[in-house]
Amino acid sequence: MPVEHVLPIGPLQLLAATALVLVAGAVSVGLRLGLERKLAVAALRTVLQLLMVGYILSWVFGIDSALVLVGLLLVMIALASRAAVQRASRTFRGATARAFLTLALTGTVCTFTVTEVVIGIEPWYRPQYVIPLLGMVLGNSLTGISLCLDHALEVFSDQRDRVEMDLALGATRWEAAREPIAEAVRRGMIPILNTMTVVGIVSLPGMMTGQILQGADPIDAVEYQIVVMFMLSAATSLGSILMALLVYRRLFNERHQLLRDRIEARATSA
């Protein structure tokens, strides 16, 4: 198949795309849905956020420095950790630090396994590969981690009787926590498993679509997408498992007691 190059988009083309949003806004006004203001704000945010990230990426790609890349990765991981913890309806002291540790470990291991072993980029810190891939990993992992965290804290908070029933019958802390922990990990993995089940059938993934729009061979794009899906599933699974284990270590002590007092309700849930 002949390879085409990406067709550039200019200001006029962007205006044409804006017309689509304006039509949606006009429909909202016509039907008195009251959504036009929210739509306008969302559209404006989309433009500003994407332009901002575009300029930052252009700057980072231009600098070509390992130190700058590592700094940027740490910022991405920190923001993702905060988002993961804020999405859960309960929390505990040190939750964000544990989410950071989880995302830093599983995110970098999975991302660099792909960039170094599968793709084999040179040098290792080429930001145009590392940043988008880590971004995808973090986006999926933080969803998994927050679902996992939410379920684990819900069980250990609301179902103390169930856990203490096992402890009272002579269970070790792990025996008492194992089933809730396993369920929390399962919850964390549901979104990525659902995505993997329907990928290519219900929707084409964004990265693959982007590559095809850029003129890549669909088979090449599919191969990349398979790698990405495997990377995302590994990162989400390992992230959920590690986060669940860290929650377990925080909420049970060596005297095989459940420390429910450590769980705090969040004032508002995202």
Partner: protein, 222 residues
Amino acid sequence: MSLLTVRGLSVAAGGVDLLRGFDATLGEGELVALVGASGSGKTTMLRTLARLVDPPEGEVLLRGRTAEQWGFPTYRRRVSFLAQRPMVLDQTVLANLSRPFRLRAAGASFPEARALALMKRLRLSGIAADRNARSLSEGERQRVCLVRTLLVEPDVLLLDEPTSALDAGVVEIVETVLREQVRAGRGAIVVTHDVVQAARLCDRVIELEPFLPVSEGSRRAG
């Protein structure tokens, strides 16, 4: 030697002391009632004795050894706490009863014949062992949980309102079973709000009064 020795125990919930300086002993074959007003710390006392929570002060000894020395799972196997709200899992009655025997601390395999005999004794023989335990009434669940605890054969039973959901006729049967358990050498501490039951069932009555010295009355079961 006494089964359970409690020395200078404080009991706290949510960081607030409910009771201080509690001393008591429980001997083999002894059945003690724990009574007191709501919020006086009866349930928290049982959870503390089972070492599901740490006491701010004091110690609890089983046959002269602390839970740390026994190892916590082993200790709780021997000092077994049964909560007032009967906790059964979304499984068959038999699976609920055999659960303690699937734990690492279990020294024996599930004694199914004994379980069925105890169920019959507590008027649960009409319930199929493969029925889901969540479909049982509150009173039936309470008795299934009691059977599960008795099967473990602990040295000390810590029972929180074990007859609160039962009809009068079944209460009598449960009380008879508990007396048989202590006659076999176990000790039992029963939390109850029913002072008549406490007097009828137990050898001694301990009344908890928060922040005051604990008063201990003594009477033999008739």
